[in-house]
């Protein structure tokens, strides 16, 4: 719990304040409700898979009822026709509830700039973290989750945006032996 904790000498006790303790407990037990509508779902599955393993952060267990979940992943394009369903699912969740807008479409409508698409789910429901990308890589998704966990710890409900990621340059797998071409 970091700075919020004071260890009382050798007594074996530590003090903290109640909100910090509550935030610490909440951020490691996020029960997610995946509202997956489009291609971003593949990256969401990759994030849940063994290589990236969202379970490491205590947010692995999906609840397929909004009443049992406290983190709503909105993954993919939300149409105007779908907006009432999304709104109702959000209202059915129990407090405290958090929302992540996964990908460009959920964040702003993306290139679906027309009569049919909601231009960002924050027009419908409050959003805690926006994760840009079309789709975002699993690393970016995990960064977004960690950003949300920090916000939960601090009790911060202001919407936040994951900064753009600089991916490491591509490296050729075989170039020492001359068996692969020089071009990267």
């Amino acid at each position: 719990m970091g700075d919020m904790t004071t260890v009382m000498g050798d007594s074996g006790f530590a003090t903290t304040n109640f909100d910090a303790l509550l935030g610490w407990a909440r951020k490691y037990s996020l029960f997610q409700y995946p509202f997956v509508t489009a291609c971003c779902g593949m990256e969401h599955m990759a994030t849940a898979g063994s290589r990236y393993d969202i379970e490491r952060f205590g947010a692995g267990a999906p609840r397929f009822s909004p009443r049992q979940s406290d983190l709503l992943w909105v993954v993919g394009t939300i149409t105007q026709k779908q907006a009432p369903a999304l709104r109702r699912i959000y209202e059915q969740m129990t407090d405290p509830k958090y929302v992540i807008a996964f990908g460009t479409c959920a964040s702003c409508g993306g290139f679906y700039d027309n009569y049919t698409t909601v231009p960002g789910i924050d027009k419908i429901i409050p959003v805690d973290v926006f994760i840009p990308g079309c789709p975002p890589r699993p690393e970016a998704v995990l960064d977004g989750l960690i950003l949300l966990m920090e916000k939960i710890q601090n009790g911060d409900r202001e919407p936040a945006v994951l900064p753009l990621q600089q991916l490491p340059p591509l490296v050729a797998l075989r170039n020492k032996q001359g068996s692969a071409k020089e071009s990267a």
Binding site: K81, A83, D122, P163, P168
Partner: protein, 232 residues
């Protein structure tokens, strides 16, 4: 490839075939709306045509050619699997006019005609269940018509009041500006990528509504939106 189908149609219907056209293997016959169902049924039933594969019914909108020619082209795409031939049948209807349904010929025409009605508002006479298929019942108008406003949305859920400060710093290099593209500004040749909200936020343009803005005088080219990059 299917010119013999066109010849067969002309042989059977003579002057009712208003025109035929062949372009790069696409063969097309134009008929009057009154002959639409008869021609389609002939294409299906005639053993020389044998159009057993219904592909699509769709519509193209040309409002600028009114009133000389009715604005909508109703297009039927059919194919014969056995004879390997394909043809397009076209008719022209205006606003408020009807065309016969083809559900009695191909059952598959049911949903495509519903889609055509949904998007363009052309009614199909005798259709068993002509409802909207993609859009919601509360939607007013037909969005693929050329005179439907390009930025008009009809939300079912009233939008929350969120200001532009909540917008993310998506840049032009992302290919997906965070927010709506300013189509009016884009058509006038300036401010190519930045959405109106971000442009106002960054002081590139005053907070005016696009309706009463004078677009005749292009302004100086704005700077692209700066995006923060995480240093590696």
């Amino acid at each position: 490839m299917s010119k013999k189908v066109l010849a067969r149609l002309q042989e059977r219907f003579a002057e009712k075939i208003l025109s035929v056209d062949s372009f790069r293997g696409d063969d097309e016959a134009t008929v009057a709306p009154a002959d639409w169902l008869a021609c389609a049924r002939f294409l299906h039933d005639d053993p020389e045509c044998a159009m057993d594969h219904f592909i699509d019914i769709t519509i193209a909108d040309y409002p600028e050619r009114e009133p000389e020619i009715p604005r909508f082209d109703v297009l039927l795409f059919v194919r014969s699997l056995g004879k390997n031939q394909r043809v397009r049948l076209k008719t022209r209807v205006g606003e408020g006019e009807e065309v016969d349904t083809l559900t009695s010929v191909w059952l598959g025409a049911d949903w495509t005609e519903r889609e055509a009605w949904d998007m363009f508002g052309v009614r199909f006479r005798g259709h068993p269940d002509l409802r909207r298929i993609l859009l919601y019942d509360e939607f007013v108008g037909h969005p693929l018509r050329k005179d439907y406003p390009i930025q008009k949305t009809q939300p079912l859920v009233p939008y929350r009041d969120v200001g532009p400060s909540k917008l993310a710093p998506f840049g032009p290099d992302e290919g997906n500006p965070f927010g709506r593209i300013d189509w009016l500004a884009r058509m006038s040749g300036r401010n190519l990528q930045v959405s109106p909200a971000i442009a106002v936020q960054q002081g590139q343009r005053p907070a005016l509504s696009v309706d009463n803005e004078d677009l005749s005088t292009p302004q100086s080219q704005p700077q692209p939106a700066q995006t923060e990059r995480k240093s590696s």
